[in-house]
Structure formats: structure tokens, C-alpha cells
């Protein structure tokens, strides 16, 4: 068996959010309450977790709402800094949450170029996939319309299409199958069957056990900010189903 290359390694990472109950986010408040700090609530969104993901592997994440899946994914993608531990990421990352971020002030065309560029493509490379993105998103007539005039479904389809066509070395896909109408969802699932994720490292967050069991070789099950299990997909699904009852 060929030696596995690790695409992403995280050791003992954790994330706690501090939320002040009466928000002292102005200088005046801070000045008058120097000796009277606001009551703070600490939410341990992610407790000590270690994870290693191999290159080219598709890993699933399961757990009920609020169990820390999205926080884990954001820390791994480098969007949130972790409070503890260390991480090693080799390659570009992309976090896809319904789609990738886009500016509502820009047109579809501008958003495609900006997002493509942010994900590490050159302008020429974006030129090459531009038509594919537009056609996949089914927004050809509105290429030069600002996306604030788009329906929410159209925005979601566009941003999904950009993410799919642009891609990155390590992709974190957070509930991406909730995009668009039934016809588009079918297309979205089909993307998985095409060569999109071939050779890419993917972390897939989904409530669809069907998708997880079909594509993920290993799956983590999370509860209350803790990784309860990480390994065989069927075992993780069983734990998730038990948790739901």
C-alpha cells in the first residue's frame, strides 16, 4: 500500500467563544466599566480535538445541530483561529457553506472573477471556466446583473457553481446539498459522482446519511463540541441515529 500523505493535521485544537451578556463594545462603555467587567458567557464550541486527514480522502462529519461541526470546519479551514493546539495545512483551502462568499454589490461576472481569484486561480483560468460556471448555475441571462437582484436560489446556485468549478486542494463542504430546487440538487449530487472530488481532500458535513455513507471512507461523530468517534462510517452513522432517538 502506498504511503499516505497527510493533507491536514490538527492536534489538540479547541475553540471557546466568549459572549458578553450586555455587550460593552464601545469605548465609552469600557471606560465607565473598567472595574466592572461585563458578565461573560463562555461557550465551549469545540473541545480538545485531534484529527488527521490524508490527501485525497473524503471524510464525513455527523452530529446534531449545535454540536460543533461548523466550528470545527471553520477552524480547520483557517477562518477561525484555534485557541489551543497546532494545525498543519498543506494547500489552499475552501470553505463552502451553501456556496462561497459573494458580494451582493457585484454582478455575477465580477463575483465569478473575484471568487475564482481568491481561490487561487489566474484570470486566464477563470476565463476558461467562466462559461461552464454560468451554464451550471443556469444564470446566463443575468451575467451582468448585480446579484442583489437575484432570487436567493439563483445566488445559491451561482456560488455553488463557482465553488465546484474553482475548487481548492482541501475543501470543506458544509451542508452543500441544500442548494436550489430539486433539479439543481440532483445536479449537485451528480457532481460528486463526476470526477470533482477525485484527488481532492474533502471534509463533508451533512445530515444526509445516504451521501455520507456513499462517499466517505471515514466519518466523525460529534456531540456537545466533542469528537465522540472518528473512524468507520457505518459505526458513526449508527451512533448518530442512536443520538437522534
Amino acid at each position: 500500500m502506498a504511503e499516505k500523505i497527510i493533507a491536514l493535521a490538527a492536534k489538540n485544537i479547541s475553540k471557546t467563544f466568549t459572549i458578553s451578556e450586555d455587550s460593552h463594545n464601545t469605548v465609552k462603555h469600557r471606560l465607565f466599566n473598567l472595574f466592572n467587567p461585563p458578565r461573560k458567557k463562555r461557550i465551549e464550541a469545540l473541545k480538545m480535538t485531534s484529527i488527521e486527514i490524508n490527501q485525497g480522502e473524503c471524510v464525513g462529519l455527523l452530529g446534531r445541530n449545535g454540536c460543533g461541526k461548523s466550528t470545527l470546519v471553520k477552524v480547520l479551514a483557517g477562518v477561525y483561529p484555534a485557541d489551543t493546539g497546532y494545525m498543519k495545512i498543506s494547500g489552499t483551502t475552501m470553505l463552502m457553506n451553501l456556496g462561497v462568499g459573494m458580494s451582493h454589490e457585484l454582478t455575477a461576472r465580477e463575483n465569478i472573477y473575484v471568487s475564482g481569484s481568491v481561490l487561487g486561480l489566474k484570470i486566464k483560468q477563470v476565463d476558461a471556466i467562466f462559461d461552464e460556471i454560468i451554464d451550471f448555475a443556469e444564470v446566463r441571462e443575468f451575467v451582468d446583473t448585480k446579484i442583489k437582484f437575484f432570487s436567493s436560489g439563483m445566488v445559491a446556485r451561482l456560488s455553488f457553481s463557482i465553488a465546484v468549478k474553482a475548487g481548492a486542494d482541501i475543501m470543506f463542504l458544509d451542508e452543500i446539498f441544500a442548494v436550489g430546487d430539486m433539479k439543481f440538487q440532483e445536479k449537485a449530487v451528480k457532481v460528486f459522482e463526476s470526477s470533482w472530488i477525485a484527488g481532492k481532500t474533502v471534509v463533508l458535513v451533512s445530515h444526509s446519511m445516504d451521501v455520507i455513507s456513499r462517499y466517505c471512507s471515514r466519518t466523525g461523530f460529534m456531540k456537545n463540541g466533542e469528537m465522540k468517534f472518528f473512524g468507520d462510517t457505518q459505526t458513526a452513522i449508527k451512533m448518530y441515529l442512536e443520538d437522534n432517538h
Partner: protein, 265 residues
């Protein structure tokens, strides 16, 4: 050798392309949205100059020669500074879509924002050159000292970038930096020799041109563009030191506070 390394890096990475793309889009957003479009970028300093001209030349009888040009060069540099600092305070909020789904370096967002402002400054500067050389009655014409403007521009760019970094990162933890900065800018505006003559300014506030990093840039810009003198090297040295120091503080702020932007804003 060094050139080859730089060329290699530019060829492989898309950073330069990306910064320029973002700057162009930002510039377009700012001006092409309005009915008058780019005309606004040109009209704004002209209108400002008219106001100050009426107040200081006609009402208060200022004795500065070539006063309209004197105001012109001072105001376009000042406006660049204000647009780049006040206009960037909320940048981590408005440009969140750029960094919240990838590991893109936030510094690029700032650089592109200031590049976009630089496009505006460039247009204004060309207007100044046309005005000074063709319309100003007591114009001295062009001189070899004019090329110093490149150094002054870099100085101003670094200063503004540093300030934008500091302000926008403080914004993450204290939102009212916006109001505080407004007060500071109006203070700096009246304490810069934008519409007073440099002589009056220096008499009233001796050595203050060394204390206000933007004042020195404006004073030197007038020396090289209008008076055909070399810049005041000591002043220039101070201003560059200020700018580099502020940029360093800004980079530290981005490092310490900026990483929290995605979760706090």
C-alpha cells in the same frame, strides 16, 4: 537574480493579478454607480477648492501666491489620506466575503483598497498638472524636482496603509473608533498647512510639521511641484520614519486582532 526571483513569484502566484482585480472593481463600485460616474472623482477636489478659495482668498484675503494650485495639491493628498483611513475602518466587515471562506491573506484586501484610491489620486494629480501648467497665472512650470512626487506618494501610501490597518483592527474590538477618528482627522486637517501659508503655520506652531506626519508630505509636495526646490530632506526622513513605524504597528494589529475578525464582526 533578484529580478528573476520576483518574476518567478509573480508568474506562479496570482496575488498581483488579484490585488489589481479587486482594486479595479472597488474603483468602479465607487464611481460608476453614480449618474455622473468618474466625473465625481474629478469634480470633488474642484468643488472643495472653490469653497476654500472663496473663504480664504476672497473673504480672509490670504496672501499665498498661486493659491488655487496651493490648495489643489494639498487637498488631493489630504483627500487620499482621509479616503484611505476613514474609508477603510469597516473594511474587514464589508469585505468579509473575501476572507471567510478561504485562507486568503487579509493584507491583500487593504493593498487593493488603497490601490483603488490611488487610481483616483492619479486622475486628480493629472488634473493638477494641467491646471497648474495651463491655467495658473503665476505658474513656474515643470521642473526636474517634480519626480520626487513618486517618493512622496509612496510615503503617503505607507502611512495611509498603516493607519488603515490600525483603525480597522481596533474596530473589531471597539466600534466607536469611527467617531474618534472623525475628530482626530478634523484636528489633523486644521493642523496641517492645507490652506494656511507654510510661514504662518510654522510661526504659530514651530516644529509641529515634524509632529504631524501628513503636514510634512504636503509641505514637501508644494516645494517640489510649485516652488522648484528639493524636498526638505530632514522632514522627508521624519515622515518616512513615521510611516514605516505606523505600518509596523498596523501589521502587528492585523496579526493580533485581525485573526478574530471572522468571528467578531
Amino acid at each position: 537574480m533578484l529580478l528573476k526571483i520576483v518574476k518567478d513569484w509573480v508568474g506562479r502566484s496570482n496575488k498581483v493579478e488579484r490585488i489589481w482585480l479587486l482594486a479595479k472593481i472597488e474603483f468602479k463600485l465607487r464611481y460608476y454607480e453614480n449618474k455622473l460616474g468618474l466625473l465625481w472623482a474629478l469634480l470633488k477636489p474642484v468643488l472643495d477648492i472653490c469653497i476654500y478659495y472663496v473663504v480664504f482668498k476672497i473673504i480672509m484675503k490670504s496672501d499665498v501666491p498661486a493659491f488655487a494650485s496651493y490648495l489643489f495639491i494639498g487637498l488631493i493628498l489630504w483627500n487620499f489620506f482621509v479616503e484611505s483611513t476613514t474609508g477603510s475602518i469597516q473594511i474587514l466587515n464589508t469585505k468579509k466575503y473575501l476572507y471567510e471562506y478561504s485562507n486568503m491573506n487579509k493584507l491583500e484586501i487593504y493593498i487593493s483598497q488603497l490601490m483603488s484610491n490611488s487610481i483616483g489620486l492619479f486622475f486628480n494629480f493629472v488634473m493638477f498638472l494641467i491646471f497648474y501648467n495651463f491655467f495658473e497665472a503665476s505658474s513656474n512650470g515643470l521642473s526636474r524636482y517634480n519626480v520626487w512626487i513618486v517618493i512622496l506618494y509612496l510615503n503617503l501610501y505607507i502611512l495611509s496603509l498603516g493607519m488603515a490597518l490600525i483603525l480597522s483592527n481596533i474596530y473589531i474590538i471597539a466600534k466607536d473608533i469611527t467617531q474618534i477618528w472623525q475628530v482626530i482627522t478634523s484636528f489633523l486637517f486644521f493642523l496641517s498647512p492645507i490652506f494656511y501659508s507654510v510661514r504662518v503655520f510654522k510661526e504659530a506652531l514651530p516644529t509641529f510639521e515634524y509632529g504631524n506626519p501628513i503636514a510634512g508630505i504636503i509641505i514637501n509636495a508644494r516645494r517640489i511641484m510649485m516652488e522648484h526646490k528639493a524636498p526638505d530632506y530632514e522632514l522627508l526622513g521624519w515622515d518616512i520614519m513615521y510611516a514605516v513605524f505606523i505600518l509596523l504597528v498596523g501589521l502587528i494589529a492585523l496579526n493580533k486582532l485581525g485573526s478574530k475578525a471572522a468571528e467578531k464582526l
